[in-house]
Amino acid sequence: MYVVGMTYHQHGERALVAAMLKGVAAAAVGLILATAVQLGKRSLPHGYDLIFTGATVIGVNRLHFSVLTVLICVGLVAILWYSPGRLRKEGLANHE
């Protein structure tokens, strides 16, 4: 990656390289989205999980809170939501 980065530093301004990287970056977005969808299917079994996922995205991308703030706030609420009592009561304990 060190060499690749240095090569990009030297030749990244070339129009052809920039055009190719434009395509690569767009493909990378699709790739990450696919990873998120596949992970979501596997690890988000409950509908209300989407509320926490949505709140995280809105907090970072729309409200521009720092990742740390969102992680602590939404993470804490989500953990409290899944309190041991609720997990027991609703039989939600995860399939580990």
Binding site: M1, G23, V24, A28, V29, N61
Partner: protein, 175 residues
Amino acid sequence: MNEVPALIRVFAYLSLLTIGGGMAAFPELKILSVDVHHWLTYQQLVHLYSVGQMAPGPNMMMIVSIGEWVGGIIGALVVVAAFFGPTALLALCAGRLWKRLEAWPWRASIQQGLAPVSIGLLLAGCFTLAKGAVHDLTTATISVSALLVLLRYKVNPALLIMAGAIIGAIEFYQA
């Protein structure tokens, strides 16, 4: 060279945000490296991430290049240590602690609670990247096609990355 302390600070902090993967720290990486320290432009960051997709190893190895641009070889080494050191140490300690806490009732709560948040952080990183990567019909088509192909078929992602590069080149020659 005088940027080295800032590199350590920034990447050690980013390291602790990588819940669910390096991409979780991407929005903060953009703010700190582009908006606050001006080490590179947003477009360069997006390009570096894209280049990282083509190189072997974790995607976030692209941070090595940021370190090299800012502080030479020392900067590159410092960034690797600052970014991977704390998170490796944390993973080691958390892993050991996690085993000991097997009977702790909140263990399952933490696992279930952090799962949607980590996926949210991954998506937030993805949208931050998309803001700089998807800006016309061609790039939107490439992104959606890559998404649909990956959800439908088992394809090596490197092939899709290569296809993106080829489409970009074809568009360049047609313009």
